[in-house]
């Protein structure tokens, strides 16, 4: 565990010693606040619903920007050569790096809580829904980040890692939307429940209704652990190649 912690600290330091984490957090906060307040005073409803509906679409771009460097950069500079020569197991490195990136995202999410305070001061929102939605944000982000980590472990080019991650996450988000499911007609209609189950945002919206369903939790846990497991495997495989 000490090893995981050492990797975690090192990665976190690399995020916060360079402008990446700050730029990420500031841009994330600016965009979410702007999109939120743009309609908040017009609708005059003390709810954060409009805020949480845009989160899955923002995460689609923002989280791959955090995860893209995790492995790709080390491969590019060759420092993974040094890292992997240390007495570490692959999963320890993967976990340490992943948790550091997750921390950056969680910090950004926590910094949006003043919005909730504003909403609370101006009216009486349903706090259960807001807390549930924040929980949903963490689950959603954790899954997207895991996917991004896996993609980053496959390439030494950060831009490629970013674009491929966005495409995959976008695919997973859109697949459960009516936009796609309405085209599943005729015999394909049996696929609709599967497509809806697969959709990243669907589980998010059910959690953000304030309903914590074990199926949604299982979905996110699966979607987080599987890519991380694949990351470990891809790193092991690259040694045998």
């Amino acid at each position: 565990m000490r090893q995981v912690l050492a990797i975690y600290r090192k990665e976190l330091r690399l995020y916060f010693d360079s402008p990446i984490a700050y730029i990420f957090i500031i841009v994330f906060l600016a965009i979410t606040s702007w999109l939120f307040f743009r309609t908040f005073f017009l609708i005059r409803v003390s709810s954060m619903r409009s805020f949480f509906t845009i989160i899955p679409w923002l995460c689609m771009f923002f989280i791959p920007a955090v995860s893209m460097r995790l492995w790709a950069e080390e491969r590019k500079t060759g420092s993974n050569e040094l890292l992997m020569s240390l007495p570490l197991q692959e999963w320890e490195v993967v976990l340490g790096k992943y948790l550091a990136a997750l921390t950056v995202y969680v910090v950004a999410i926590i910094l949006t809580t003043p919005l909730a305070i504003v909403v609370g001061a101006l009216g009486s929102p349903e706090w259960g829904v807001i807390v549930g939605s924040y929980l949903g944000c963490i689950f959603l982000g954790a899954a997207i980040l895991a996917i991004g980590t896996f993609i980053s472990s496959l390439t030494s080019n950060q831009i490629v890692a970013f674009i491929v991650s966005v495409i995959i996450v976008a695919g997973l988000t859109i697949v459960g939307q009516p936009l796609v499911t309405m085209f599943l007609q005729g015999p394909l209609i049996v696929l609709v429940p599967y497509a809806e189950w697969l959709g990243l945002a669907n589980h998010f919206s059910s959690i953000s209704r304030g309903v914590i369903d074990s199926r949604d939790i299982i979905y996110y846990i699966l979607l987080t652990t599987l890519p991380l497991y694949l990351t470990v495997k891809s790193i092991q495989a690259s040694k045998v190649g």
């Binding site: 000490r2 990797i7 690399l14 500079t77 060759g78 050569e81 020569s85 007495p87 040694k239």
Partner: protein
Amino acid sequence: MIEVENLTKRFGSTVAVDAVSFAVKPGEVVGFLGPNGAGKTTTMRIITGLIYPQSGTARVNGRDIWDEPVEVRRLLGYLPEATPLYDEMSVTDFLRFVATVRGIPSRDIPARVDKMIDVCSLQTMAFKDISELSRGFRQRVGLAQALIHDPPALVLDELTSGLDPSQILEIRRLVRELGKEKAILFSTHILDEANKTCDRILIIDDGRLVGEGSPHDLAAMASGEAVYSLEFKGDAELFTEKLPNHFKVVHSRPGAEGYTGMELTCSDSVDHSEDLFDLTVAVGGKLRQLSRKEATLEDVFLELTKGGEA
């Protein structure tokens, strides 16, 4: 103790390392010599567990790379080629990070890091970012991270590349000092370096070990010949007739002022210059030049790696 047994590694259809076996004992500095792309780095990366071979194995202090890769890495200090480091970290932070991952107890880390900064003469750079360091200092940071856990075995890839002559001398001295108790394998393509630093040299070419021995042995192995050239005046025929059997006349050509230029090879590695002089006197001749040239490590290297053909 580093042992490599029958190691074979292919990348696609190219064979990078072909059935290589050797051992490095504690207290021994072994130079891994070969032209670029001969398989030195690949072999070293296999020993460190960065990649796995198709067949064969490597062991460090009896721990096998297949069974206990983490334990192997614990026992090794490794300096990768081109010294990739974390540029954004300061030297001290970087060494602390390595020390933590290496499992050095927290309370010993500051002392350990200070010691490494001393050993590798990094005092003036301790709090600078690694990105600001020159090539020579980066190399020393690389060496410091390889030594920080006081490993029994060291694998150093292209240790002195990019250093200036005085830094090279300093690093060589350090390696020889460390080599008194540790097993050290270091790669280089500079002959002189291997010659001056190593107890033993392994020559690798095209993935195969083509020569092994102490610098002195290897030089002697260069077909075991020494070449004498001399200018002789007198009865050249009688002189060649009376030459002992271990001499062979390569060529003999009459030159100016009645002198004959001769070139002789000798299969014996002992210096026979005096015998030649005595023989000249015995046949009543005169000498105005006599020199002996031994085959150098360079000749061996070129011969073994067939670089001489080019």
